[in-house]
Amino acid sequence: MRRHVLALALLPAAAAGCLREPDPFEYTEIALSVHGVVRADDRGLRLTLMRGVQGGGAEPVDAEITVSSGATAVTLAPHDGTDPDGCYGPEYPPQAFPGCYTGTLPQAPAPGSRWQLAADVAGGGTITGSTVVPAPPALLSPAAGTRLFFRRWEQPAEFDVAWQTPNAPRVEIRVDEGVAFQGGARLAGSSCFVAHRQVEAAVGQPSGTRHMYVDDVYCYNGPGGEIQWDSAAVPVMVTAFDSAYAEFALHGSSVTKKRNASLQGAYGVFGSAASARREIILIPNR
C-alpha cells in the first residue's frame, strides 16, 4: 500500500524532471523490540525480544527476563519451539522468528493487578515496563446460542455486539474460528473460518455497540479439505486492552522515540488483555 502510494506520487514528477534525488543517510540507533501481553485468563507468559538488523529482519537477543507482580516473580526461559506454548503460531518456523521467551505463572493474573517487566540484556542495557491487567468485558449481546442465517456472499448474517468495561482504553471485537455441525452433531477436528474476518476496534470507548456481519463461512477438516456442514458455532470475542497495548496498536509501520510511555529501553509493547467470548450459531441458507 505504502509503496503503491509512493510510486503513484513519484511517477508524474519523475516524468517532468521535477523529482528530487534521494539523499543517503545512516540509522543512528540500534533498536531492541519487545512484544508481550499478560492475559487475565492465562497462566502462560509469552514474550519476544529481538534486535532489528539493517535492511530488515531481526536477530535474537540474550537477556535475563523477569515478569513480576508483588511477591510473584517468574523468570522467562528461551523457547525455540512452535508448540501452543510458543510465542508464534505453528505456521511460523522458529528459525525465522527468533527471540521467544516463555514462562508459567502460579495462577492467572487477576484484573487490576500490576505486572512489571525487567530485562537485563547481554552486552548491556535494561528494559523495563509495566501494565495493569484490565477487567474482562461484560458481553451484553449477542445472547449465547443466537442463531443467525445468511446467504453466502449475498445476504450476510448481521448482529450487534454490545459490551461494557470499567475503563478499557481499547476494545477489540472479532468473530473467531469456530467448529462445524452436521445434523446437530459436532464434527470433531473441524475448523470454521468466517469471511470476511471483521475486526473492530473501539478506541476510547469502554462501553459500546458494534454492528458485525459475516458474509460467508468455510469449514475444513484438517488436511481433508472442505467438509459438508449445516451450521457452525463461532465465538464472538471481545477483548479489553490496557493503555500500553492501546498505544502500541495505534501505530502502523513506524514509531517515534517518545512513544513508549510504559516501556523503556525497547520498542514494542508490554501490555495486558482480558477477553470475553460467546458462541453464536451461523446457518447458511443454501
Binding site: L6, L10, F25
Partner: protein, 757 residues
C-alpha cells in the same frame, strides 16, 4: 457609553448621508468603495454590498465623493437638513477594459479608512483572474498569496490561516457557510471567479458579528448582475469551460446572475475511446453553478436569493463493464437569502437565512443494482441571522442573533481491512450541533485619530456550554499616512475536523470531515494582533504581529511517516492544544500600470498532544510571495508570481525494528513488518520551497464582439522546474538507507481564453 450615544442621537442636531455605491453603467453594487466628504475630513468605507453611512454631518450642502478600485471616482452634492438624512446613491464608472481593471485592483488601501482595528483584506475578481493559476483562475489560490494564509501543498487550495487548520476558517458564500468547495480533491476551488464581487479575508481579531470559528473568516460575495443590459463572461481552459450571464429581469423585477462551469475530461476521454486511442473511458466530471436573483437597484429594501451547486464524481455507466459499476459522487450545495433595509440612514436591518450541504457517497453495484456503500457522508448547516445596526455621529452600534444547526452523518471506509483500515479507519457516527449566538458591538470614533471597537459574542450551545467571547480592537491614526492597529478576541467552535493534519493524504486532499464537538466542550481560541499600516502615493505597507492560542483540537497520534499516518483521527475525544505567533508584512506598490505585491511571514506554530509538542506538518516558518502584474504592450499583460518558503517539518528516521501483530484468540504473535523508528516528531526540515508561475495575456476587441473583449492567455506553473518536496520517507536503497522525496507540482503549461461581452 452606549446610553450616552443614544442620547446624543435623540438630540438630532446632525444629519446622515447614506446610500449605495454602484458601478456605471451596470448598476451593480461596488464593494468596499471609499466615500468621503473631503471638506469635513469625514470618510466611510462601503460594505460588501456597497452600502455606506456617514453620520454626524452638519446641516448644509456637502459634496460626497466615492472612489473604488477599477472605477473612476464620482461625486454628488447632498443637501442635508438638521437632524435629517439623505439617501445618495453614487455611480462610479467601471473601466471597461479587462486588463485596466486588473491593473488597479491592487491599489493600496489608505490607513484609517477601514473600521476600527486591523483591516480585512479584500480581493476582487480582477486580482483573482490576473494571478497565474493552475489551469483556471482560482479564488482560493489568490487568497493563498496573502501572508496570513498558508497552503499545505501545491495540490491543495485548503486555507490555513495563522497556524490554524481549514476547519477553523469560516468560509461563506453570500453569508452561508460552505463545506468543501473544491474540485479534484482540492486542486481547484469550486467557485467561479466571474461570479464574485469580492472576497473578504479576516485572519484574526474578528469582530463579534463574525461566525464561530477559531482562526478566521473568508467571506465570498457574489455579484448581483447588471441592471442595464445582459452581459456574458466566461472562459475556456484545458480543464473546463465556464460561462456567465447577468442582466435585468423582465418588468424591472431586479437582476439575475447565472454562471456555470463544467469539465470535459469525461467527454474527451469518451471521444478518445471512440476513436480507439484508449481502451476505457474516464468517467469523471465536475460542475459548479451559481444563480442569484436580486431586487431592483434603488429600492429602500434590498433582497437577494442565491443558490450554489458543486457536483463532482466518477459515475460509470451501467454498460461500462458487464458485471460491475460504481457511483462515487460528492458535492456541495448552498442556498441563501438576504434581506436588508436601511431606515432613514439611522438604522440598517440585515436578515440572512441559508442552508448548505455536502454529501459524498461511493456505491459499488453489480448489473445496475447497488451492492455495497463503503462511503456515505453528509454535512449540513441551517442558519439564520438577524442584525440591526444603529448609526450615530460617532458610534455604530450593532446587535444581532445567529442560529446555527449542524447535522453530520458519516459512515466511511466501511469494510476496509488491514493496512487500509488503519490508514482509512472505519468511522460510523451521526451527530449534531445546535447553537445560538448573540452579539453586541459598539464601534466608535473617539477622535479624528482614534477609533475603537468593543463587542461581545455569547455562544449558547444547546444542552451544553455557554461561552462569553469578548472582542476588542482599536485604530490610531498617527498621521494621514500611518495608522496603528490592535485587536484581540476569544472565539469558539462547535464542530471539529477528523482530518489528521500530519497525514500525507490531508496535505494533498483538501476535503474535510466535520463532526460535532462535545456540547459541553467546544474548541476555543484566543488571539491578539498588533499592526501598523502605512500608505503614500502608490505604495502601501502593512505589518501585523499576532499570537494565537487554540484548545480542543483534534490531533492524531504523531506518527513518524506521513504516508503511514491515518487520513482521519478515529476518535475526536483525543484532543490537544496549539499555538501560533509571528509577524506578517504585506506591501503593494503601484508604479504606472504596474503593480508589485510582496507578502512575507515569519511564524511559529505548534501542537501539543500525547505529551509531545511539535510543529504541524503544514507549517512553514518563513514564506515569501512576490507578484507583479505588468502591461505587456498596449493590450497585453504579464503576471509573475514567485514563492519562496522554508521547508515543512518532517520526522527523521533513527532506526529499524521488527513489529509483531497480536492474536488475542491464541495469545500468540505473528510477524508483521519491519518498522522504522523515528526521532523527535517533526524535528527535521524538508528542503526549501520555491516556485515561479508566469502568465501572459492579450486582449482583443473583435468587431463581432460589439465592444466585448476576448483575452487568450498562456501560463506556466513552476516555470523554473523547481524540485519542490511534498514529503520525505526513508527507504532501503541499493547502498543502504536513503530519504526519498515526494514531489510537488511539476512544470505545467496551460492555455485558454476568457471573454466579456
Amino acid at each position: 457609553m452606549i446610553l450616552a450615544s443614544l442620547l446624543l442621537v435623540l438630540q438630532g442636531t446632525t444629519g446622515t448621508v447614506h446610500g449605495t455605491v454602484r458601478a456605471h453603467p451596470s448598476g451593480e453594487p461596488v464593494p468596499h468603495a471609499t466615500v468621503e466628504v473631503a471638506a469635513l475630513n469625514r470618510r466611510a468605507v462601503a460594505d460588501a454590498r456597497g452600502y455606506y453611512v456617514i453620520a454626524g454631518l452638519p446641516a448644509g450642502e456637502h459634496r460626497v465623493r466615492a472612489r473604488a478600485v477599477g472605477h473612476d471616482s464620482a461625486s454628488a452634492v447632498a443637501s442635508l437638513a438638521a437632524g435629517g438624512s439623505v439617501r445618495l446613491d453614487l455611480q462610479v464608472a467601471a473601466r471597461a477594459l479587462v486588463l485596466e481593471a486588473v491593473e488597479v485592483a491592487a491599489a493600496p488601501p489608505q490607513p484609517g479608512l477601514e473600521a476600527a482595528g486591523p483591516a480585512a483584506t479584500h480581493i476582487d475578481a480582477g486580482t483573482i483572474k490576473a494571478l497565474p493559476a493552475v489551469g483556471e483562475p482560482d479564488a482560493f489560490r489568490a487568497i493563498q498569496t496573502l501572508p496570513s494564509v498558508a497552503a499545505a501543498s501545491d495540490f491543495s487550495t485548503a486555507l490555513y490561516l495563522r497556524g490554524g487548520t481549514p476547519d477553523q476558517t469560516l468560509v461563506t458564500l453570500d453569508g452561508t457557510p460552505l463545506f468543501n468547495p473544491y474540485h479534484l480533491g482540492g486542486l481547484f476551488s469550486a467557485i467561479d471567479p466571474d461570479a464574485l464581487a469580492t472576497v473578504d479575508v479576516v485572519p484574526g481579531a474578528l469582530p463579534a458579528r463574525a461566525g464561530d470559528r477559531l482562526s478566521g473568516a473568508v467571506h465570498m460575495h457574489t455579484r448581483d448582475g447588471g441592471s442595464d443590459r445582459w452581459r456574458s463572461t466566461g472562459g475556456i481552459s484545458l480543464i473546463s469551460s465556464r460561462i456567465g450571464l447577468d442582466g435585468p429581469l423582465p418588468r424591472g423585477m431586479g437582476t439575475m446572475l447565472f454562471s456555470v462551469r463544467r469539465t470535459y475530461l469525461d467527454a474527451a476521454a469518451q471521444a478518445a475511446k471512440g476513436a480507439g486511442l484508449i481502451d476505457t473511458g474516464f468517467p469523471f466530471a465536475f460542475t459548479d453553478a451559481h444563480l442569484k436573483l436580486s431586487s431592483p437597484a434603488g429600492g429602500a429594501s434590498q433582497w437577494s436569493v442565491s443558490g450554489y451547486l458543486n457536483d463532482e464524481g466518477f459515475k460509470t455507466p451501467d454498460s461500462w463493464t458487464d458485471d460491475e459499476n460504481l457511483r462515487w459522487a460528492w458535492g456541495t450545495r448552498a442556498l441563501s437569502a438576504r434581506w436588508r433595509r436601511a431606515l432613514g440612514g439611522r438604522w440598517l436591518v440585515d436578515a440572512r437565512a441559508g442552508a448548505s450541504d455536502f454529501s459524498g457517497e461511493l456505491t459499488v453495484g453489480s448489473l445496475g443494482q447497488p451492492v455495497e456503500r463503503p462511503l456515505d457522508s453528509s454535512m449540513r448547516n441551517f442558519m439564520a441571522a438577524l442584525e440591526a445596526t444603529r448609526y450615530t455621529e460617532a458610534h455604530r452600534l450593532s446587535a444581532g442573533v445567529e442560529v446555527n444547526a449542524y447535522r453530520f452523518s458519516h459512515d466511511v471506509f466501511r469494510g476496509s481491512e488491514g493496512d487500509l483500515a488503519r490508514l482509512l479507519p472505519h468511522i460510523d457516527r451521526t451527530d449534531e450541533s445546535n447553537s445560538v449566538a448573540l452579539h453586541l458591538t459598539d464601534e466608535w470614533r473617539a477622535s479624528e485619530r482614534l477609533s475603537g471597537r468593543v463587542g461581545v459574542r455569547v455562544l449558547q450551545v444547546m444542552d451544553g456550554a455557554t461561552l462569553l467571547q469578548p472582542r476588542a480592537a482599536a485604530r490610531f491614526g498617527v498621521s494621514p499616512e500611518l495608522a496603528l492597529t490592535a485587536g484581540a478576541g476569544r472565539y469558539a467552535q462547535t464542530l471539529r475536523s477528523l482530518r489528521d493534519e500530519e497525514s500525507l493524504f490531508t496535505a494533498i486532499f483538501a476535503f474535510d470531515m466535520l463532526v460535532a464537538a462535545p456540547p459541553d466542550r467546544p474548541s476555543t481560541s484566543e488571539d491578539v494582533t498588533l499592526g501598523v499600516e502605512w500608505a503614500r502615493g502608490g505604495t502601501a505597507l502593512r505589518a501585523d504581529l499576532f499570537a494565537r492560542r487554540l484548545s480542543g483540537l483534534t490531533i492524531g497520534v504523531p506518527e513518524g511517516d506521513p504516508m503511514d499516518t491515518p487520513l482521519l483521527v478515529a476518535s475526536d475525544s483525543l484532543t490537544g492544544t496549539g499555538t501560533a505567533r509571528g509577524i506578517e508584512l504585506h506591501a503593494t506598490h503601484r508604479r504606472g500600470r504596474r503593480t508589485f505585491t510582496l507578502a512575507y511571514a515569519y511564524a511559529e506554530a505548534s501542537r501539543t498532544a500525547f505529551g509531545e509538542t511539535f510543529e504541524p506538518r503544514f507549517h512553514r516558518p518563513h514564506s515569501l510571495d512576490m507578484s507583479m502584474i505588468s502591461p505587456l504592450g498596449r493590450r497585453g499583460q504579464l503576471s509573475l508570481r514567485f514563492q519562496w518558503a522554508s521547508g515543512q517539518a518532517f520526522t527523521p528516521a533513527v532506526s529499524q525494528t521488527p513489529r509483531l501483530a497480536y492474536d488475542p484468540a491464541t495469545g500468540t504473535w505473528r510477524p508483521s513488518e519491519t518498522i522504522t523508528v523515528f526521532g523527535e516528531h517533526n524535528s527535521g526540515r524538508l528542503p526549501a520551497y520555491r516556485r515561479l508561475d508566469v502568465s501572459v495575456k492579450r486582449t482583443f476587441y473583435p468587431r463581432f464582439a460589439r465592444g466585448g473583449a476576448i483575452t487568450p492567455y498562456f501560463q506556466v506553473v513552476n516555470a523554473m522546474a523547481s524540485r519542490n518536496v511534498l514529503f520525505a520517507t526513508p527507504e532501503w536503497g541499493e547502498n543502504g538507507p536513503e530519504i526519498q522525496y515526494g514531489p510537488q507540482l511539476p512544470t505545467i503549461p496551460t492555455f485558454g481564453f476568457e471573454w466579456t461581452f
